[in-house]
């Protein structure tokens, strides 16, 4: 079985995000970019499936600017076998919407015929939480979202999902799309020898046009603002003072 893992290049989660003064968006020039943390978890799970003998090949795919190949090299260094880069934008500030990403991924799936697609639950830049579900819809496949446990048994998979009420376990028919949540696993770091080896692994370069997908956004960005700042608070000296302040504020 082949595993397809879509990985997105996003602003590193430690970087303090700066909204551009003209309201046109977030400044992404010269900031550290990394693999979306959820996608690291997806890559890790794919590699574990291979190590457990349940998968024989792990293919990573990224859609975006040319620099996304760095993200793919990270996936290869972690242990993916090969990578596909679909260039769909020439400026990092131009993000591709989940619907367009899903349409491109659907074509990649048609070509690659994976038994499972492991995606992140959400990308930490746009926080849409949508791509996996959209891909599943386009393919008419089953979906297991927000997975904290995955167990593939023949032509079905058991997926335990993190939901508002706690945990839900469902059984999905293979092939399937699983989107991964934080507690599925702890991703490994790539070792130096593996980083070197990754440079020689195959990385195919395509464009959105190769797949005949129109990536024109459906959502127009009107403006991007800083959120309202909170008024400065005070430091209290004791629990007694805290109780007093809370009573004054009518909070208790």
């Amino acid at each position: 079985m082949k595993v397809l893992v879509p990985v997105k290049r996003v602003i590193d989660y430690n970087v303090k995000v700066r909204v551009k003064a003209d309201g046109s968006g977030v400044d992404l020039a010269n900031v550290k970019m990394s693999m979306n943390p959820f996608d690291e978890i997806a890559v890790e799970e794919a590699i574990r499936l291979k190590e457990a003998g349940k998968a024989d090949e792990v293919v990573a795919v990224s859609i975006g600017v040319k620099q996304s190949q760095e993200t793919l090299r990270t996936a290869l260094a972690m242990g993916a076998d090969r990578a596909i880069l679909v260039i769909a934008a020439d400026d990092v500030h131009q993000d591709i919407e989940p619907l367009a990403v899903a349409k491109i991924l659907a074509k990649v799936v048609e070509e690659e015929q994976p038994g499972i697609v492991l995606a992140g639950k959400q990308a930490i830049d746009n926080d849409m939480n949508a791509t996996g579900q959209m891909l599943s819809a386009l393919l008419g496949w089953s979906q297991g979202t927000f997975a904290s446990e995955l167990d593939i048994e023949g032509d079905t998979a058991k997926v335990t999902r993190e939901v508002d009420g706690g945990l839900q376990t469902i059984s999905v028919k293979m092939p399937t799309i699983v989107t991964v949540d934080l507690r599925l696993n702890e991703p490994r770091y790539a070792s130096l020898p593996n980083i070197m080896k990754a440079k020689k692994k195959p990385l195919d370069e395509k464009t959105a046009a190769d797949y005949g997908v129109d990536v024109t956004p459906r959502l127009e960005i009107v403006k991007t603002d800083e959120p309202a700042a909170r008024a400065a608070g005070i430091i209290v000296g004791s629990v007694d003072e805290l109780v007093e302040k809370l009573k004054e504020a009518g909070a208790v």
């Binding site: 602003i11 303090k16 995000v17 977030v26 959820f38 919407e97 989940p98 619907l99 899903a102 639950k121 959400q122 746009n126 926080d127 849409m128 939480n129 949508a130 996996g132 579900q133 959209m134 891909l135 599943s136 819809a137 496949w141 089953s142 979906q143 297991g144 979202t145 927000f146 939901v163 508002d164 009420g165 706690g166 945990l167 839900q168 376990t169 469902i170 059984s171 999905v172 028919k173 507690r183 959502l219 127009e220 960005i221 009107v222 403006k223 991007t224 603002d225 800083e226 959120p227 909170r230 608070g233 005070i234 430091i235 209290v236 004791s238 629990v239 007694d240 805290l242 809370l246 909070a251």
Partner: protein
Amino acid sequence: MAVLLLAEVNNGELAMDATAKAVNAAKALGDITILAAGGSAAAAGEAAAKIDGVSKVLVAEDASLGHRLAESTATLIVGLADGYEHIVAPATTDAKNVMPRVAALLDVMVISDASGVVDGSTFERPIYAGNAIQTVKSNDAKKVITLRTASFDAAGEGGAAPVETVSVPGSDGLSSWVEDKVAASDRPELTSAGVVVSGGRGVGSEEDFKLIEGLADKLGAAVGASRAAVDSGYAPNDWQVGQTGKVVAPDLYVAVGISGAIQHLAGMKDSKIIVAINKDEEAPIFQVADFGLVADLFQAVPELTEKLG
């Protein structure tokens, strides 16, 4: 212009708070029809009919809709989509599972977690863990939207909308439910509670989380946690507050032993009053706190619990 609103139904019961907040958020968009779908949903439909501003309620009951499996629920909604310009739902994990699937089947983009409705096609939504608010205008014929409940007040009750039953396409056999692991609790639900007390890694263990729970019970509060506390096994996953957990905006939020990483702040910084208890005066949580107490939580929390008597 008409709105189809997917009610939040859990095991046959309407989640009134989440649904009523979505109704209030969507009322400017047009006439609201509520869809109550589930293995059993009639009672939820009756309850939803009482929400102010609802014109009609559709009830869809079928085993295939039980446990809100995404595939069957999305097929049902797409079958009903004609005649509605907006298809909306409160941004719960259920809706986040279903609505992007609905959008893709309709060949439109989904607008996730909208925190503001500007007009019929323009919406605000937080991006980058709430570090920026983006205003987006949809050029799609239909708008599929999930609404961040923490950003809206609940619509009142007192209506009496007519309730109709709709037929259900049935199961496509793609997925089936196995089990739920839900911890029963007498505490208020996290996303609708007026007071939330959250613990972080600083609490140190599952046992010591009892301190947090004790303070919460004294305040009639829900209990929350940071990701680090959940990852370390001190607290269950459904208590996680933050960018990738639940978003809350209670009247009072008490953060104990939480450093205040942006991913955590994303889930609670719209709370009315924030209290932080942390032994490190440099902790970023103090930057958003109205009242900060630099103290060891193992002394401060029991003392606070006692003195709130």
